[in-house]
């Protein structure tokens, strides 16, 4: 019986590799989207539910922006990439995913940390960081819109 997380790991590495090697921007973005979804399902498999949901929520927005950018920035004539080179890429990706499934280097962690909920860790221990970061994100989003507007005018 092949473990579920091993299958996800192989698919994750393959899609990440294809998102790099494919010449067409839109195809690369599609495989990058698959990478995000697979990463999120890996977090689910690890038991990090909040991280998985957050990754998925952020990934949706990122992929939408990437799609738009990829469509805008694609050249009119599609790049020439043969099916053979794509197949070689898939085989190479499967080959480099073998060590993560077969080898093991993760150290044993001694004591486990009990008695702290995720919400408590986020709000009580990192609450100021979170608030400051929200402010930084707001400033950056305003800055980005100013850059785009000024250049257009």
């Amino acid at each position: 019986m092949i473990p579920f997380d091993a299958v996800i790991a192989v698919a994750l590495i393959t899609s990440a590799f294809l998102s790099i090697i494919l010449e067409e921007n839109i195809h690369a973005v599609v495989f990058f989207g698959a990478t995000i979804v697979l990463l999120s399902s890996l977090y689910f498999a690890l038991g990090a539910i909040f991280a998985a949901i957050f990754q998925l929520a952020i990934g949706v927005g990122t992929i939408a922006v990437f799609f738009l950018a990829g469509e805008m920035l694609s050249s009119k004539k599609p790049p020439k990439q043969t099916l053979r080179s794509k197949l070689i890429g898939v085989i190479a990706a499967l080959a480099i995913s073998i060590p993560s499934v077969t080898l093991s280097i993760t150290p044993k962690i001694g004591g486990t940390f009990e008695g702290l909920e995720f919400s408590e860790a986020l709000w009580r221990l990192r609450g100021i960081d979170l608030t400051a970061q929200a402010f930084v994100i707001l400033v950056i989003s305003i800055g980005v819109s100013i850059i785009l507007k000024r250049r257009r005018s």
Binding site: A51, A69, T106, F113, E120, S141, I147
Partner: protein
Amino acid sequence: MDYIILSLTLLAIGICGLVTKRNLLKALISVEIIAAAASLNFAVFSSMSGNPLGQAFMVLALSVDTTLTAIIIALVIVAYRELKTIDIWTLSKISRARREKR
């Protein structure tokens, strides 16, 4: 199944893309893959130790990563509007030529 090796593999793929690709969008995807490798480590060690603080840090890291992506995409679009290319080498050549002209 080893998550650390998986993370290292993702990091290697990202660095490989960053070094070999001339397209700015591909370079950005490579940076995203490197960031995904880093956040995978947060999730793995958080899950292994049972400490949810790792997940909290991961949430913060993902937010920063997304804002970084927004800035880079804005700059890529501006570069494309001005110079009609997203090839890193061509952009570098154009900027060098402009500098020499001044």
